[in-house]
């Protein structure tokens, strides 16, 4: 059956279910005799026009938050009300409203004139974290990220995220991260809703996210909302700045290894704005200074550009266009050159149908590619690989009443994978070779309802239906355990090779014990149909992506978590503890000695297993005041099980880190000086050490018996930072950021290797490599 027909037989099935469920939810809401009206609108920064996400809107005693697009909606019986809108760092707005009909109240908040209080959470001083049924979510405020000291002064949202409980960085100085036992390819990373495949520059030392251009960061590590899907362990939802629609602003920074600049301003005042932000590293300048001619002629840099524009046609229709383009370039003169990068584009249309129904329609493009060129005489070649995604999403938010908010939508995501092709000239040692492209379509429909059932009990429940279709053209093989081809079938363009259907229930609930304490629980299932074949700890540009297929089944994760949430001292302190247990199915690893590079039969090299992860997280944060920060502790165990490894027993996964502690403190010393510090401690990663040695071909060879049976020494590190704000000036503003990474110069293990001793022939030794000693940094920032 042609693809189109197939899809038409599939789609209506679940669309029906969604519609039915929506209908059921609607009719189950008790009808009230009293007349009710709705007040809705958008919340913005009055000076820049930037929308404010998560502002608190209160109508007498009922309250809600503005959504990701700044929209809110509240419904109440006919009468007179006080509407207040608050957001940290802004002057609250208060309105008196006679609710005799549906009303639109657009709110513009002005920033407080005094020095902005540094806060962890962008949200107002509220108890959202207690009453919301959502759990396992972390929101980072950009001002926080800008104050936390980091390696080489390159502030970075991914590195700051790894300071939160349940989140671990892949290795020192690396932006790869693991959430609650998931692998790094099990995180869904969205930049303005577009999937970013390789979120790192320079092998993971820097992330692709330039914090100048970022407005809001949310990380879901559990209780995944139904609107997200496609990855097992987390969703990192990043929103770019909209741009100032009142004035032109230029800001930037000069750092040790990179510089950046951002320009924003109105397209049409009050109606539309743009933002463009760029940065480039200049590591290559250091290379030029080298006396070695090979090093001197090498290239090593990355750059990225974020751009966004919006236009408000009226108060009901807004169009957004955003894009990201980044590239890493690396090469040795006359030897080889390589470059890789992501580009994404998002076209979004917000439409407010009425005071209760909000719609967001997105058309998304995402591309990741790499290109390797060898210039070696007689060995020249050019290898390219890429992934291209096209995605259509329709998300609707229906504010049924103050106790029910329904979110529902559909998603169709098309993948086009070109695993790789090589071209070479006639004189080369290499043949031309092209691995067949693979085409896939992931479709999904979801519905969820946030229901404030009673004053104390809130529920967030729903489900996501996800489909995966792998289709031709191409030749698709099946393999035996030894990797030999059993069958090989050729499919025509559009012919379905394999399809998978998964139902993913999502459920979370909170029960408020007091206004400052609650218990929460959640269960959710996630599935994943696009996988990285890698067991390397650092991200490499040539990471190989495969889709679920006739050989590879969708990965499935089930997570149950429960937690206790408690605020103290008028919500100044937040404390939470969460326990989780996660089952993982259809996990993928590859065989020892696997051939992964440009192998048409790469799926013959894979093995499949299961996993489990469980742990407890403690989190205490002080949200306000001159001194603020947080303390996180995680105790966890992460295990994998493959038939061919360790006799089929559970063994600790590479990302298993039993104890993990992080502490972050920020102190506003004076109007001009602020200081910050972070401390991290983590159990060493599981590694495989030799259990003996023998001789092969007169070379010392190591004998291994158990995978990951050993531990590297524990990691710990203290970083310090200081920010000096320039003297206030009418026209411009500047600041200096100073940092010291690894203050007490503790050498944390990066790799431990084994070799024949050079100093003591006839013996072998273990060698520990560490990357970073004490590293000072300084950055100058400006804005005018």
């Amino acid at each position: 059956m042609p693809l189109i027909d197939k899809l038409f037989t599939y789609r209506p099935q679940y669309l029906n279910i969604v519609i039915l469920l929506a209908f059921y939810l609607l009719i189950s809401i008790p009808a009230s005799a009293q007349k009710k009206f709705t007040v809705s609108g958008n919340v913005k920064d009055a000076t820049t026009g930037e929308i404010l996400i998560g502002a608190t809107i209160t109508l007498n005693k009922t309250s809600t938050s503005s959504n990701n697009y700044g929209f809110y909606s509240l419904t109440a019986p006919e009468g007179n009300y006080i509407l207040t809108v608050t957001y940290v760092g802004y002057v609250p707005a208060v309105y008196t409203i006679a609710l005799t009909e549906n009303k639109v109240v657009d709110v513009g908040l002005s920033p407080k004139a005094e020095l902005q209080e540094v806060v962890i959470n962008a949200h107002a001083r509220n108890n959202d974290n207690i009453v919301s049924p959502q759990m396992g979510v972390e929101k980072l405020d950009m001002s926080q990220i800008n104050n936390v000291p980091v390696l080489l002064g390159e502030r970075d949202i991914l590195k700051t995220l790894s300071l939160l409980p349940g989140v671990k960085s892949a290795s020192e100085g690396n932006t790869g991260f693991y959430v609650r036992g998931g692998a790094s390819d099990q995180n869904l990373i969205l930049l303005d809703e577009a999937t970013v495949y390789n979120a790192s520059h320079l092998f993971g030392f820097f992330s692709t996210f330039n914090s100048d251009a970022i407005k809001d960061v949310s990380l879901y590590k559990g209780g995944m909302p139904a609107q997200y899907g496609g990855r097992l362990s987390s969703v990192l939802d990043i929103k770019m700045d909209e741009g100032n629609n009142q004035n032109y602003v230029v800001q930037g920074g000069l750092g040790l290894i990179s510089s950046r600049i951002k320009v924003e301003g109105p397209i049409v005042k009050d109606k539309g704005s743009f933002m463009i932000s760029a940065r480039r590293t200049y590591l290559d300048l250091f290379l030029k200074a080298s006396s070695d001619s090979t090093v001197k002629g090498s290239q090593l840099y990355f750059y990225d550009i974020n751009a966004k524009a919006n236009y408000h046609f009226d108060d009901k229709n807004v169009l957004y266009l955003s894009g990201y383009f980044g590239k890493d370039v690396l090469g040795l003169k006359n030897t080889f050159g390589t470059n890789w990068g992501n580009s994404t584009g998002t076209l979004r249309f917000n439409h407010i149908f009425n005071s209760k129904l909000f719609s967001n329609t997105s058309l998304i493009y995402s591309n990741y590619n790499y290109d390797i060129q060898s210039y070696l005489p007689g060995n020249n070649f050019n290898a390219v690989s890429q992934i291209t995604d096209l995605d259509f999403k329709e998300d609707l938010q229906y504010f049924v009443s103050n106790s029910h908010t329904i979110k529902f939508g559909v998603d169709a995501l098309h993948h086009n994978l070109a695993p790789g092709s090589i071209t070479a000239d006639a004189n080369s040692s290499f043949n031309d070779k092209t691995i067949e492209r693979r085409y896939g379509l992931e479709t999904a429909a979801y519905i969820s309802d946030e229901w404030h059932a009673t004053d104390k009990l809130s529920l967030l429940y729903g489900f996501r239906l996800s489909d995966m279709f792998l289709f031709g053209p191409g030749t698709f093989s099946t393999y035996d355990a030894a990797g030999n081809t059993i069958t090989s079938n050729t499919y025509n363009s559009g012919q379905i090779v394999k399809s998978y259907f998964n139902l993913e229930p999502r459920f979370s609930a909170s029960y408020s014990l007091t206004p400052e304490a609650s218990l929460k629980a959640s269960y959710n299932r996630n599935t994943q149909n696009i996988h990285i074949i890698s067991n390397s700890t650092s991200s490499t540009p040539t990471d190989l992506y495969v889709m679920s297929s006739n050989n590879i089944k969708p990965e499935i994760a089930d997570q149950f978590s429960t937690g206790y949430f408690r605020n103290f001292n008028d919500n100044m302190f937040e404390f939470s503890t969460e326990v989780y247990y996660k089952w993982l199915e259809n996990q993928i690893d590859y065989k020892n000695g696997a051939q992964l590079i440009l192998n048409q039969d790469v799926e013959s090299q894979l093995v499949y297993g299961t996993g489990r992860a469980y742990g407890i997280e403690f989190f205490l944060k002080k949200k306000y005041g001159k001194f603020n920060g947080w303390l996180g502790y995680t105790l966890s165990r992460i295990e994998r099980k493959f038939a061919a490894i360790n006799n089929g027993d559970y063994y600790p996964a590479t990302q298993d880190r039993t104890n993990d502690i992080s502490a972050v403190g920020i102190y506003q010393f004076s109007k001009r000086w602020s200081f910050s510090s972070t401390f991290v401690y983590g159990t060493g990663n599981p590694v495989t050490y030799p259990n003996g040695k023998y001789e092969i071909n007169s070379l010392t060879t190591f004998y291994y018996s158990q995978r990951n049976a050993n531990r590297e020494p524990a990691n710990n590190r203290l970083d310090l930072g200081a920010t000096l704000e320039g003297k206030p000036h009418k026209k411009y503003h500047s600041s200096w950021t100073f940092g010291i990474y690894n203050v007490y110069d503790h050498r944390n293990p990066y790799a431990i290797t084994f070799r024949d001793s050079k100093t003591n022939p006839g013996t072998t030794e273990a060698v520990e490599t560490s990357l970073f000693g004490r590293v000072p940094s300084v950055t100058w920032n400006f804005k005018f």
Binding site: P690, N691, F702, F772
Partner: protein
């Protein structure tokens, strides 16, 4: 194509060296000791002359490199056409088959090694064609110090069949501690110029470099390839280390390889 990975390794190393002072130090680790394992190295070549088997045992990591020899083994080679050939122990742990007419192309050999009550067997197929080493050449190092030299092997890969190769490099009669192995999945039918990248031995002009080229079967290629991957765990962490897949049964380490052999030698220019 394996060299691509190597190149990244170098570049990552370059970044690290340039931006910070990375540091290496020898550390003491508490390592678990597995029971001593039997290690069998058995080779049958296409050359007339003695064929060798060595049997040793593994030792703890912290021990010195004195690998105990295993004596008194009974070793039999089945030549695939019904003949049983016997090895004699000429030195503790060293067994020789002599005289031997040279292995026959395309024939599958089975070796049986009886040590005490345990019998270990393995099979290996002599490739159907001996691909000759055409020449070896040298050129300035591409990575690292350009005053040093890199050896290149040149050979014509036959187009019709899948070939696997192992190269053993000697510099002034000292064997380089790097395993060079390759198949023709990217070079089938080409005239191949393959650089033997290594850092164990500095090669200077005037040194004598020799290379033995072996055509090996698929299982043995997998053995050497897996072993070579163990060696390249540079920055960023290589693959999870594992034992290379021995073609011997009963958990013996080592290999049995029936292979062709050709060699060349040059004075580095």
């Amino acid at each position: 194509m394996k060299s691509i990975k190597l190149k990244y390794g170098y570049i990552v190393a370059a970044i690290i060296v340039l931006t910070t002072a990375s540091c290496q130090k020898v550390i003491n680790l508490k390592l678990n000791n597995a029971p001593s394992q039997i290690v069998i190295e058995a080779n049958i070549t296409d050359q007339e002359g003695p064929q060798y088997v060595t049997i040793t045992k593994s030792v703890p990591f912290t021990a010195t490199d004195n690998f105990p020899t295993v004596t008194g083994a009974v070793i039999t080679l089945n030549d695939g056409v019904g003949r049983q050939l016997h090895f004699n122990e000429v030195h503790p742990g060293l067994y020789i088959l002599y005289p031997f007419q040279g292995g026959v192309y395309g024939r599958t050999y089975t070796i049986t090694v009886k040590i005490g009550d345990t019998t270990y067997t393995a099979q290996s197929t002599m490739p159907t064609v001996s691909v000759p080493l055409d020449s070896i050449t040298d050129k300035p190092n591409v990575f690292g110090k350009s005053s040093l030299r890199t050896i290149t092997v040149n050979y014509q890969d036959p187009p019709d069949i899948a070939n696997q190769y192992l190269f053993v490099l000697f510099v002034n009669s000292v064997e380089a501690g790097t395993i060079f192995t390759n198949d023709d999945s990217f070079t089938n039918g080409r005239y191949v110029k393959e650089d033997l990248f290594q850092t164990d031995i500095d090669i200077h002009p005037g040194d004598t470099a020799s290379v033995n080229m072996q055509c090996i079967d698929k299982n043995i290629y997998q053995y050497w390839y897996t072993l070579s991957q163990q060696q390249t765990d540079g920055p960023g962490g290589g693959v999870t280390p594992s034992n290379p897949p021995s073609n011997f049964n009963n958990n013996a380490l080592g290999y049995f390889s029936a292979h062709t052999i050709t060699g060349k030698s040059i004075i580095v220019y």
